[in-house]
Structures are given as structure tokens and as C-alpha cells.
Symmetry: C2
Amino acid sequence: MSTIGFSEHDHASCIARAVRDVEARCEEARLQLTPVRRRVLEILLDGHRAMGAYDILDLLRREGLGSQPPVAYRALDFLVKHGFAHRIEKLNAFVACTHPGADHAPAFLICRDCSAVAEAHEARVALDESARQSGFAVESAVIELEGLCPLCQNGAGA
Amino acid sequence: MSTIGFSEHDHASCIARAVRDVEARCEEARLQLTPVRRRVLEILLDGHRAMGAYDILDLLRREGLGSQPPVAYRALDFLVKHGFAHRIEKLNAFVACTHPGADHAPAFLICRDCSAVAEAHEARVALDESARQSGFAVESAVIELEGLCPLCQNGAGA
DNA sequence: GGACTAATGTGATATTATAACAGTCGTGTC
DNA sequence: GACACGACTGTTATAATATCACATTAGTCC
């Protein structure tokens, strides 16, 4: 699927499925999943963790898909805007969305050891309640919890 | 109290009180509230909103307290480390803590109109519960809600 | 085909943050 | 008093992240 893949397992097929899913959504919503945008999505899915814009740009460069920062940022903006990826503020980095479609603003669980990022959806509700009570009208939320994932707590190290 | 103050009201006295409070805590904890650190705290209190490191640095420069980025960053690191200020990831900016002492990791309500930042403490609990259930060990949390504060919802504009 | 919008290519630059190392200053020790 | 030590500061340089501006290309509608 890519020049990057070191971990073969069934990762490739799960990426392929995710890409097809996004493809379908784009078609439905009349969005253009152009080569660069598609490739950036694949890179994020393949990386399977939060990646910096310049990490992604490096890969694009090697593949001749773009060499200047705006190329990466524009693709990332597109993916984030339409919910196919998320920006992790704490890391100045990006992850592919693991629940595309569920129109959401999830919480993220970031492992400081293996850098894995998980989405947690239940977390939102209580927060909105709390803010609303104070009269504050929430429009967007950044909820990022850093710590150790279950695997790394056991010394697995992902 | 400072060369910056445009809004006179009783802001000055509330800043003075906050500074004295931090002073006391530093004395107790054997921390050095040096001139630069103290001035950065005052600037944050006076600004009364999230300020970028370079905004602060500009003010320090005019006062001859330091001219290079590390000066501002070191003072901010100190204040954040000891809970006298907080970093707002979403804004790459800093605010003075409004509840120093309560050893906390609060949620922030950020008004996109007037840039005011409020701390909300009730919000935490539900999140920790949620994360814990997934087996993830939370060590630090970034919870930032952007929207409109009650004043700006009324067209006040703070 | 002409007008339009969306996307890309590219060079330059803005913004945020840190590394590295030398100098200063107080404090304790002998 | 000389010294060693630690914490802080001053300064240069540079890294890392992000955006602006403008020219060009590609697709779409009429």
C-alpha cells in the first residue's frame, strides 16, 4: 500500500477500508479527495499515531507529491475540516479519525510512551453540561488527556 | 502598578492581591520570585487574558527586563510549573491562574470574541472517570472549550 | 470557448520555541 | 578570603510550526 509500511499484518486492509469509507463520504458530499489529500490520509492511517505536518511533508516529498509546507497544511486542513482527521493541539500534530461519520468532537487519550492516540467519545457530555451551566456557549472543544495506555502500563511499549 | 494599565478600576488592587498571594506561596515553598518572574506574572494578571510569549517579551523589552525569547519562556515555565499560570494549548498562549493553590488541572473556557479565559473546575471529574474505564492512566489533561462568554453573547464585547 | 471556482506549485516569511554556553550572584565551606 | 556550587540571567543562534501571496493549472457550468 505504501513505501513506508514496516508492519505488514492486516494494517494494510484496515487502511484500505478506511480510505474507501472516506472516498464514499467525499463522493456523497461532493468533496474532492484529490491525490495529495488521499495520500495524506493514507499516511496518517498508516502512521497510526499523531504525526507532525513536517513528518507528513517529508513523505510527500519523497513521493514527489509536494515539497512546500502549504501542500501538507492544505491537505490536513481539508481532512480536519471534514472530520476525516483531527488536530492534537498538545502535540501540534494530526491523527486520522477512527470514527469518521459520527459527527463528533471527541476526547483524545495520548500515550506519552508509545504516542498512540485513541478517541474517547463518552467524555464529552459532562463537559458541555458544566460549561453551559456557567452561561458559556461552547462552539468547539479540545480535550486531550496524556498518560499511559494499557499496553505501556504493562511495559509492552506498543 | 504598571506602565500598561489602561483599565484603572479596581483591577490594580486585584492584581496586587494576586501577586502577594503568589509571593507568600513562593516564600513558603522556597521558590524565588525574581523580578522577571514577578513582572511576567503581573503582565499576565494585568492582561487578564491569554497572552503569547512574544507579547510578554515585547513588554519586558520596553522595560529593560530582558530582550530574548528564553527570558520570557523561562519565566513562563516557572509560573506554569508551580501552578501560578497555565498554558492554553489551543492558543499557544498563557494565562495567570485564577485559583492559585487549588492544586488543579482545570478546564478553560475561551471566548473567541473577547479572548477572555475562565477556569472551570467542575468539568474534570467526569472525564477522569471515563478515561479510567478504558484502562488509560491519565497524567495530565488539556481541556479547552472555545465559544462565546456570557457578555459577548449579549453583544457586549467585554 | 469564456468565465468561474477549486486546487496546486512555489518562494518568502511569520510565529512559536529551544539549544547551547558564558556570565552573574548569593550561599555555604574551609 | 578563596573556592565551589547552584540557581538564575544574558545572548547568539537555530529549530519547529504555520501562513501569506501570487502565479498556475484543472475541472465545471453555461
